[in-house]
Symmetry: C2
Subunit: 234 residues, 2 copies
């Protein structure tokens, strides 16, 4: 990736994947503008993490946008009436699209990134989607990302007027969780600032039992590293 004066929008959830993606973008010489969404998720604790990660990475700006995905309901991540699945074996996760799927989430997130990118003249958009150690979300696949990049360059005045072409960067899309953790560790990511759990307790501690916790813990174990965050005692 080019060293130099290139601006990038980096979608930052506060989780492990997006923190690593931000480190990769910064290491590539991009001037990073972090974008976080408060979307009625149960795990608001993530947003606190996003603030800390953005600050540690010394991003140029960090915007937190309120969006009301809970208005539509239908996901365990936004609808308190739907329980978060627990203790699922890893080989069961990828078999079907889980109830933690939030319809059109990445489409909406990338659309906002496109809006801000056009206004900033930031034509590089980084998203920490992962198609390997993930739970079968269709909008994390490379084909989806390619289709969004195509759409962006038809939608944006900047692209139509030849000022710049949008590129969607997915640097960790084909990495395993342990590869992501090793990469981030080399780049100095402080994973104690990150948060992954879908269902933390009132003090913000990770449950250790949802799909996201299970994948995270396995990733650290496979990487031969210790996860620095605290978990609820079982």
């Amino acid at each position: 990736m080019p060293k130099g004066n290139k601006k990038a929008i980096v979608l930052l959830s506060g989780g492990l994947d997006s923190a690593t993606t931000l480190a990769i973008a910064a290491d590539g010489g991009f001037l990073c503008y972090a974008l976080t969404f408060a979307y009625g998720q149960r795990h608001l604790r993530e947003i606190e993490s996003a603030r800390k990660v953005a600050k540690a990475a010394k991003v140029r700006q960090h915007r937190i946008i309120d969006i009301d995905l809970a208005a539509f309901g239908g996901s365990a991540l936004t609808d308190k009436k739907i329980p978060v699945p627990k203790d699922r074996p890893e080989n069961k996760m990828a078999k079907s699209i889980p109830i933690t799927y939030v319809p059109a989430r990445n489409t909406i997130f990338l659309s906002y990134a496109l809006a801000w990118g056009e206004l900033l003249g930031a034509y590089n958009i980084f998203i920490g989607a992962n198609a390997v150690d993930y739970s079968g979300y269709p909008d994390c696949r490379p084909a989806f990302m390619a289709a969004f990049e195509r759409l962006a360059n038809l939608a944006a005045a900047a692209a139509v007027e030849g000022k710049g072409r949008f590129k969607i960067h997915t640097p960790i899309i084909n990495m395993t969780k342990s590869q992501i953790i090793k990469t981030g560790t080399k780049l100095g990511v402080d994973y104690s600032l990150t948060h992954s759990c879908y269902d933390p307790d009132k003090s913000g501690r990770a449950c250790g039992r949802c799909d996201s916790c299970i994948l995270r813990l396995k990733g650290f174990a496979d990487a031969g590293l210790i996860d620095p965050i605290g978990y609820v005692k079982k």
Copy 2:
């Protein structure tokens, strides 16, 4: 279009184009769910019109979603520091992308429609985009709409699981403003409920001088009809 029990999401701004699009969808036998956005636009008056139009059309549900496009700034429609252009001759409007352009607006709107559509099982999305009598917005072109439809069917769990394929309907995209008005008039649209002006006065009356008013007035004149809304006296 099929008569029967098909659900559709209809993007409804409160303007003339989307009111006509809703009438076309309803006439086609679709069960209509109207979706309106409050996006920090100057012309909040539009949302009041959207409510009236939705009610008159007896839609199944009408959702108004707050989205903060003004957070990014940069458009005369969301940023009060940028003046709305006035008195531009119609042949000047299409020459460049105007300052009333809101970056990624239709991408964001369609993304929310996709989210709601997936939850409702409503795979038909109607949008009143128009590529003829319009002011050069790139995200109103047929190529953009085709790219979004492709994206939707990669993004949505419903499409991936074979429950339904999304279709983006743009029934007025190639109509002139007078054709739109004639079509809506035949279908019984009450244009007195609609609002088009980018810069109404405090009582909500249209200015008669912005691009949107000029195109509307010309459309009624070309159709041989009288625009039923009031304008500020010049």
